[in-house]
Symmetry: C2
Subunit: 144 residues, 2 copies
DNA sequence: TTATAAAAGGACAATGGGGTCTTTTTATAT
DNA sequence: ATATAAAAAGACCCCATTGTCCTTTTATAA
């Protein structure tokens, strides 16, 4: 569904929140290993996410990544907006600049409800909701 | 939703079928102009689609692109498989190699039904069904 | 049979995605 | 204070996507 940067960002943040909930502030090596992503690239991505304020970091001994519990949750939509953009679930499936019920592309009435469901998903789910999802057993992640 | 190549391919083929239904075999200049895509790139894409047998072409004066009415319809899934691949609607939303009901990623139960709807869409809709869709007014297409 | 109209083919180029590697900065434990 | 552990920063690289442009082949109309 999403590109590598978004996937690594998503998995990293969920892992960080998951560990934070256990009073651990994981470092980049641990994160990259656990989510099965290249560590240098993951570092770059997290660096950006820290600059954007999605997550915080502490340098030096005992440092690592962590969330400020006082900040609002980070929705998938927030995250995706900052990485690959929302074209995937906000644009016209046919690629038209203007496409709506009044001027539909040939795919419009079939695609619109799916796109709406995607939008609902990314706006309702957050790093926190995923990290605390009792139905999932997220440990390591892998991709070809 | 899809990348440029897929979008241009999709719009080109739908336009060709639409014109064929009016006994016209459009040429590359006309197609590119109508779907608002770069003509040289569109030519490259159509060249590939001809080689793959999705559509046919005639060289020389009075030439152009056309579908063989005796061939089976080209589903969106067929087309997408030949361009960007089906990762968008077949992979795990979280990027896990293995993710199913038994070993779900944190997004699995929310994403699975949407992915299934996407798969249904691309398998049920075809170039032909889109070209003949009475509810759409596809003329020109545009994208930023 | 020759000029012309069209698609096919191939070389090239810009941009962004997906990375690596090394150095620098910062914090902390000793 | 100093060695050490960590994140930050920046230079660099490869390749796929997204194109352009020029030449060649093929068909047809005149």
């Amino acid at each position: 569904m999403f590109n590598k940067e978004t996937e690594y960002a998503l998995r990293s943040l969920v892992y960080i929140q998951h560990q934070n909930d256990r009073n651990i502030r994981p470092g980049i090596e641990e994160i990259a290993k656990e989510i099965e992503a290249p560590h240098a690239f993951t570092a770059k991505i997290l660096q950006r996410l820290v600059r954007l304020g999605f997550v915080q970091s502490a340098k030096g001994r005992g440092g690592g990544f962590f969330f400020d519990p006082n900040k609002p949750v980070v929705t998938l939509h927030d995250l995706i907006q900052s990485t690959e953009g929302t074209r995937t679930y906000e644009g016209c499936g046919f690629g038209l600049k203007t496409c709506d019920d009044a001027h539909p592309c040939p795919l419009h009435f079939q695609y619109a409800p799916i796109r709406a469901a995607l939008q609902k998903l990314v706006r309702e789910e957050s790093i926190q909701s995923l990290a605390r999802n009792p139905h999932s057993h997220f440990k390591a992640a892998t991709e070809k």
